[in-house]
């Protein structure tokens, strides 16, 4: 922050030396923490290029020689792509349905007067108090009765439902802040309520909607408990479940497991690097408002 203007920053050489030491120390600590974060991931990436024999002889070390077969075999076989596809379907549909349902509800909860409006809003906020784990066992039975076990919809619908409270709480104030003059003018121009919502409100609310989308994508892509309970058939497994399957299946083949883990990290890492700003802002505000 404002270290530059301390009164004692009159250029005494002792003060300057002290600050330099301070700075170096700070740097050293930050680099150390960064290394703590990077090394395990790097270990996974590099180990994927080694053989399990190399790993056993020397747990840490560069590939010698570099082997690509772990990666290529995983990428040319079915399970990885199947899990990737399952994850993608679930993430995309969860996100789209979250955006549609939460924005529709938040729209009327924000801008239309009707009896029971606060009651409905409070009902949604109640959902914030209870995590998925409390409801997971009855949910399993319910999905069984609805024939949604081993079906992507069995993951999509509950994860949308559990994400609704946060989404609505983020969207409602945003929708409220759009001046009513705009809505009135649209009405005069012959815009219906739906027309206003679809053609004016949603386009104006892009920042809030992208927050919701980021929250939905990240949480559904990484979800573990719900898919674990709902998807028992390996063909329906998402990437997190597939990583676990794979590590159980190839317990002895460490290098191959780490190659699979690396590949399963890549989509999330790519998304993160591509949308870092939105993700950090979105997850931060989502958590605080949630």
């Amino acid at each position: 922050m404002s270290i530059a203007i301390h009164p004692e920053s009159a250029p005494t050489s002792a003060g300057r030396a002290w600050r330099a030491i301070n700075r170096v120390l700070l740097y050293a600590i930050l680099v150390f923490v960064a290394a703590l974060v990077i090394v395990p991931m790097l270990y996974a990436v590099l180990s994927g290029f080694r053989s399990t024999g190399q790993l056993a002889a020397q747990p840490l070390g560069l590939p010698d020689p570099w082997i690509t077969s772990n990666y290529t075999e995983i990428l040319t076989s079915g399970p990885f792509w199947q899990a990737f596809g399952n994850s993608a379907i679930i993430a995309v549909l969860s996100t789209v349905i979250t955006l549609i349902t939460s924005s529709m509800a938040a729209f009327v909860l924000a801008r239309v007067q009707f009896r029971g409006r606060n009651a409905v809003f409070n009902l949604f906020t109640l959902g914030l108090l209870f995590p998925l784990s409390v409801a997971i066992l009855p949910l399993f039975l319910l999905l069984h009765d609805l024939h949604l076990l081993n079906n992507p919809w069995g993951v999509i619908l509950p994860s949308v439902a559990f994400g609704l409270p946060t989404s609505i709480i983020i969207l409602r104030p945003f929708f409220r802040s759009i001046p009513s003059e705009i809505e009135d003018a649209a009405g005069i121009d012959g815009c219906t309520r739906f027309g206003f919502y679809w053609r004016i409100l949603l386009p104006m609310s892009r920042p809030a909607l992208s927050t919701i989308a980021v929250l939905a994508i990240v949480s559904s892509w990484n979800a573990f408990l719900l898919p674990l309970v709902v998807l028992s058939n390996p063909d329906t497994h998402t990437l997190p479940l597939a990583v676990r399957d794979f590590s159980a299946q190839y317990t002895q083949d460490t290098a191959r497991v780490l190659a699979f883990a690396t590949l399963s990290m890549l989509p999330a890492l790519a998304f993160y690097i591509g949308a870092e700003r939105q993700i950090i802002a979105g997850l931060g505000s989502g958590a605080v408002k949630g």
Partner: protein, 323 residues
């Protein structure tokens, strides 16, 4: 849309008022519209959130495996069973242990890193990017990687040996006395970046003029931190602590992947043991009772925390979050 004058406002108001005979039809139409907008979300929420929550309470009164008819009502029997189950009470203690370490160790580290990263230096954007990365990767992947990092004679042990710390090598995940601490470290490894981002967002809301003014008045860096930054960061700290505490009560994925609650229940958490009993062993009534206890602990904590800690943080306070 052009700016509209008072005249169009009045016009709009007039348009809305021209009811008469069309009024009833309009209000019916309006109700239908509201219902259509609200229904998809409300239906999903009721079916997949509220009903299962209520059912959890209901099922917890039965001895039930999920298949047979729901007839064996035992009242509070499952709750008595849970509170007498030393693996469940042990699991609660493990959650509390993780919670205490999260608040006592992980949060201060996250805050310190956030303070460091708000200073201007080269590479700080990169550092921020790196520190947050583990948060966006799935717990399953991270669990599998750490499982291999921590295996006996694995890379971690080799590093410790190489830097002369060989005597500190442990059976990280197989020693009952150390496994929870190991898991806490991995959990923190994944989640400290998230708290750090919250703190950084809070810090950017504090006007730098305040620290500068204090510095001009002769306050040292430490005093500025103690008397200006930390108090103004209060609301953010309280929210981050709350989220960290609630998260600590919910720990599941990493533990399930890395130890499944072992060795011999030394790292069970409430959720792993509830899943083990209620899902894997299909003791649904018993599992539901544990789920209700878990929910009640979280609810009680939330309400007390909101009542006694968060009540000071009125909306729009100086460090509130934008966006």
């Amino acid at each position: 849309m052009a700016s509209n004058s008072a005249a169009t406002d009045r016009l709009a108001a007039g348009v809305r008022q021209d009811d008469g005979s069309a009024g009833r039809r309009r209000s019916l139409r309006q109700s239908a519209e509201i219902a259509l907008f609200l229904l998809p979300a409300l239906l999903l929420f009721i079916v997949f959130v509220l009903i299962p929550l209520v059912e959890a309470v209901y099922y917890s009164g039965f001895k039930w495996n999920g298949l047979e008819p729901l007839t064996n009502w035992i009242g509070f029997g499952n709750y008595q069973l849970a509170l007498a189950d030393k693996f469940f009470t042990g699991a609660i203690a493990h959650n509390v242990f993780i919670l205490a370490l999260s608040l006592g160790v992980q949060q201060p580290i996250a805050l310190a890193l956030a303070l460091a990263l708000t200073r201007n230096f080269r590479g700080r954007t990169f550092m921020r990017l790196v520190f947050f990365t583990p948060y966006v990767i799935s717990e399953a992947t991270i669990g599998v990687i750490w499982l291999l990092v921590l295996q006996p004679h694995g890379p971690l042990d080799q590093i410790l040996g190489a830097v002369g710390l060989g005597q500190f090598i442990q059976l990280w995940l197989a020693d009952r006395s150390i496994v929870l601490t190991t898991l806490f470290v991995v959990i923190s490894w994944q989640y400290f970046g998230f708290s750090m981002i919250l703190y950084m967002a809070g810090l950017t809301q504090i006007p730098t003029e305040l620290r500068e003014a204090a510095a001009i008045d002769g306050a040292s860096g430490a005093q500025g931190l103690r008397y200006i930054t930390l108090p103004l960061l209060g609301p953010t700290i309280r929210v981050a602590v709350f989220l960290s505490a609630i998260g600590s009560l919910q720990v599941f994925g990493l533990v399930f992947i890395m130890t499944s609650g072992g060795p011999f229940h030394a790292s069970d958490t409430m959720v792993t043991w509830m899943i083990e009993q209620g899902y894997t062993r299909t003791a649904l009534g018993y599992g539901a009772a544990m789920a209700v206890i878990l929910g009640a602990i979280g609810l009680l904590f939330s309400l007390l925390y909101q009542r006694f800690v968060l009540r000071r943080d009125i909306e729009g306070s100086i460090t509130s979050f934008a966006g």
